[in-house]
Amino acid sequence: MLVPARTGVDVPADCTLLLPAISVGNVGQLAIDLIIATLNMPKVGYFYTDCLLPMVGNNPYATNEENAKELSINAEVYALPSSKLAVLQLRSPIIKKKSKDFCQALISWIKRSSFSKVILLSSSHAYQRVDHQLFGTPFRYLLTPSLEGSVAGLLKGLEWKEMEKVSSYPGMNDEEKRISIPGGGFTKRLYDDCCSEEIQMAVVLKFCSEGDNIPDALALVNHVNTWLQLLEHSDAGLSPEWKIPSSWRLLFGNGLPPALF
């Protein structure tokens, strides 16, 4: 359920919704952070749910002392009506065993808000790739049948690669194949639900490993940008300049005690 934030901005009708999966390296969440910070998107509301761990902090996209004091919580919706774009940012993990309920809550909100399409930014364990996934681009996409008709051609033109199906029983029976997204959190569940609910949805993911995942997030957001054109390229050939949110400081710990030296 969406609780409005009383900021005077509403979720525009017929817009694209971008949301992250809580997946390996938090790549989707970092990528969404980059989009909100760069496009300077205003907050429109809170996604009211009992499926995420509670969390509060001050504005992660603060640019000055004044807006640093705005409270932000675990699931917030941002929108840019001029670009017909809405973004849901998730900032805390899903409570154990609530992943199914969370996907259902997302689906019913998506249906009620009638988004033109939904794009899930995700990631998958690089070490669990099968042999033919080891070479070439680390990005993959998945489209629900209802979005395939309108978008598949365009993505093929951009030379995007579809997520391969892998054998259910490798080495024993290579006939039976299924989609597997290890480390992708609720990615597969939401994709399956969107397929059965006939929602126009795409998954864009990157194979990565745990560590400093900022380069992965930048790569993923650049990759998505080639399709959605969220941000124009500054110079021909160069990748667009994404704004790093102020809250990304101190990702690797505090300062050291001076007595050490």
Binding site: N26, G57, R189, G253, N254
Partner: protein, 292 residues
Amino acid sequence: MATFFGEVVPVYSRAVQEEEEDEDEDEYLEEEDEEDREIKRELQEKRNVVVSWSPVTLSHIDSSPDKKISCSHFIAAVGDNPAAFVSSYILSSGDWEEVGSIRCWNERCRVSSSTRSVLPHAPSCCTFYRSTAKQALVCLCTCYVAEDQMFQWCEKVFGFLHKSRLKVTVLSTCPVSNYKTTQSTFDLPVPFLKALKTSTYVDKMACGHLEQPNVVDGLPAAVLMHCQEFAIPGVLYHCYTDMAKLDSVTVEAFCPVLSCPDMSHLAADAAQVKEVLKKVVKEVELQSNLYI
């Protein structure tokens, strides 16, 4: 995954659980029989948060037009130190009465409802105190509230409170090692207070804002989130301390909170405060046999 030295270590991810845990769970669900489902259902029911009120308060609630408690300030003290601060600096003034409790049954609090009636201050309880004259309701929460119970805790407690004219103050503590700063935590003047407020809270705060990238989680966060979502003015005072247990220095670190305009009238007499605080801290000291 193998390390540089050749040993095989399990891959750890901060974002996701073991691979496809949920999927396996689904397959398992198909196999489980009626008895398993019954046990799960009973366990789930047992985990429900139960708010109970004293007979007098219950009759007040029933007689009010919208079945709510009249109070304009709700104070939630989460943890031993905030609870000790509220009991000594606020509740010792005398005009407070115990009006109810919250029972949370979970993996750490296993006191069943039958034993609770024998022990009104069982460790699985949060206790409510109310002052009719001061129009305030206090909740001392020293028990463990599990992840899946926090949302329900807020919905149930706020279900009994009038949303208009309500102000909320939350007090909590956290180890200073969790504080993120460009300095070393070694140089910080512990204990110290930091505050977070909802967008509808306009009053003066007792201390500075909690800077990004610091965040607060757990029950204090759940309460403040509820306030933000429903536009209730709320403030959270988070004390960073280097003491793991109850201690008087950490308790006293909350004193600036009483200087706020909507808290000052709640402060108890200084003489009573010292007495109660001494008693509370001494009880803990007696339990420790480290130096005997």
